[in-house]
């Protein structure tokens, strides 16, 4: 069986749903961050797949690289924020940190 565009899209949809589920259900801030990473990666998959199967240029691949970079930056800042939250609240449970100002 030839592996086509549809297979990639199915995989990516599953990864996306896993990520979304993770983001919506986890109470741990780091878990949420991981869910976000999953969603971003599902998007990357889509980019690469579309780039490979429908277009002659490398736009999609370029975007994927941007997204990876962005994800790295986002993870760095996100973790720093989480660290800050931990220092303030001594927990990283997002249910417990709903105070908008101290």
């Amino acid at each position: 069986m030839e592996i086509g565009l549809t297979h990639f899209l199915v995989v990516s949809t599953m990864v996306f749903l896993a990520g979304l589920f993770c983001v919506l259900t986890r109470r741990n801030a780091i878990g949420i961050l991981m869910g976000v990473e999953l969603i971003l990666n599902s998007a990357n998959l889509n980019y690469l797949a579309f780039s490979r199967y429908s277009s002659v240029n490398y736009d999609g691949q370029m975007f994927a690289i941007f997204v990876i970079m962005l994800a790295a930056a986002e993870a760095a800042i996100g973790l720093a924020i989480v660290l800050g939250i931990y220092q303030t609240f001594h927990t990283i449970d997002v249910e417990a940190t709903d105070t908008l100002r101290l």
Partner: protein, 691 residues
Amino acid sequence: MQEVVHTATHAVTVHTVSYLRWIPLLPLLGAIVNGLGGVWIQKHLGKKVVGVIACAMPALGFVLALRAFVDLVGLESSERILLDTVFPWIHVGILNVDVAFQVDPLSAVMILIITGVGGLIHLYSMGYMDDEPAYWRYFAYLNLFTFAMLTLVLGDNLLLMFVGWEGVGLCSYALIGFWFSEWANASAGSKAFIVNRVGDFGFMCATFLLFWSLEGVDHPTLVFREITQYAPLLEGHVFWGVSTVTLITMLMFVGATGKSAQIPLYVWLPDAMAGPTPVSALIHAATMVTAGVYMIARLSVLFDMAPMTGNVIATVGAATAFFAATIGTTQFDIKKVLAYSTVSQLGFMFIAMGVGAYATGVFHLMTHAFFKACLFLGSGSVIHAMHHEQDMRKMGGLKKWMPITYLTYLISTFAIAGFPPFSGFFSKDEILWKAFSGDHKIVWFVAVCAAAMTAFYMFRSVFMTFWGENRSDAHTREHLHESPWLMTVPLGVLAFLALFSGFLNIPHALKGGANFDAWLAPVVEHGGHGGHGDAHHFDIVEYLLMGFSVLVAFAGAWLAYAMYVTKSIAPERFADIAAGRPYRTIFNKYYVDEFYDAVVIRGVMGLAGISSWFDSNIVDGIVNGAAWVVRMLSQLYGLIDHYIVDGAVNGVATVTSFVGGRVRRLQTGNINAYLYVIVLAFVGMMVARIW
């Protein structure tokens, strides 16, 4: 058509020379040298040098004046005009005046008097002022005065004449207030200048009116030659409902009353005696005060056309002659007596001018210059000897100590009183005759009364000063002495002239040639009616009148003799009439000064006070008021701002914060909740889109 003919017949021939400018410029040079370097010269070279420099200038001027005179004599009588144009002065549009000096028979007489008498008085001053520390300043002023006076008479146009006219006023101001640390002297100077300014106002207005009237007949000019030529064109012109020429001459006469101390502007002259005595002789007797007479003679062509002005002038002259003489009879200050006599004599000159006898008036101007200068210098000699005492009640018997002064003073007194054959007889009698024959009988009568009083008060001054017992204190008496030759020589020369100058103009009635009248004729006679009742009138009436005026002079002199020498008539008999009220009134100069002070000075000062008050309270008040209103308005706007504009802003803020307070409940801070909202909203939008 007649005008054209007129103009053609009056075509003026002018002879150009280039030495005239030095006549006024030399004294100016002297004034500059002594004015700027006088301190140095006086300190290092001595007072003599200052005096010599100052005297040399009018002396050289006199030589040049003689030369001009000789040149004039050599010309045809109708062509006797010498002109020296120095440089263009004011050339604006149709106004063209130059700095140009002109000598004609009239100004020739004047410059001879000014440089001649002036030179003598400079010489006299070297003796009189020898103990004055500010010697240089005195001579600088004196030279400057000579310059201004010469400019006045030599200027060939009205504006240049006006420069001299006010220039002499300036020097008069400076010299009256020469000893300025006395308050009274400084005041007298200011008074002289300001009163003269009133006259100058008339002079200026007359100049403007004359210029534009001549423009109206297409010959705008201020040059005397051309005025003489074109003035007849103004005949019949009317301005403000009055004959133009009458208005011009009346305004000119206002100018003359100021400078020549006539009613109502004579008040400054008696006060002007505050200056050094030679100044009184030069400025306030011989030269400056006669400027008004000169001006009328110079513009005689206009005055000839305005008989009404002539009547006014003759009347004012007679009134001045009379009232000044009455005041003169009561004064005790020797210089005040002479001052009022000057005012009175000027009145005589104006009578002559008013009746159209211009040459006679100028003749009296000349003889008066001689004898009055001599009298003033004589009084100066006395004052010098008496250590600056001027009250005649403290003098007496001075002829013993001062024979030369006495003799010259006496000769001049005879001259001013009008005794034949002294010069005053010829000139004054001629005036009286011209007034009588010109049908001004009242003027004549008043003038004769004034002449009688003149004889009285002049002999009174001789008797009180030189005759009888000496009444001075012992210290002064010890130092009584005749003055040095520097002072007696000018006295002698002037007395000589006072004695003999009358022979220059012996009237036809006395088998004379009336040479002076003939000399001035080209300047002051303009076709028309010329001198009144000339040549043909000398019948028995003229001899009778002549005899009468001599008689009157004798009567005056006799009365003085009786009152002050033999004392057969006590002066109190006159003084005590009507409880002394008339006497006190006259002694206090009719309270005219007080009247002017109360009405004019206080009036103007009051007006000034009101103006100033108006300025700082009303005008500035409005300005400050406007500022206040603006400030109040801005306060009001401040309130509006606070409650309405700011209120609106704050209202918006309030609403916003209320709404925000409600809406912020949605902000739970729970990230999961947000995410659910995002996902649900997304799904909802997808569903809505597909459906």
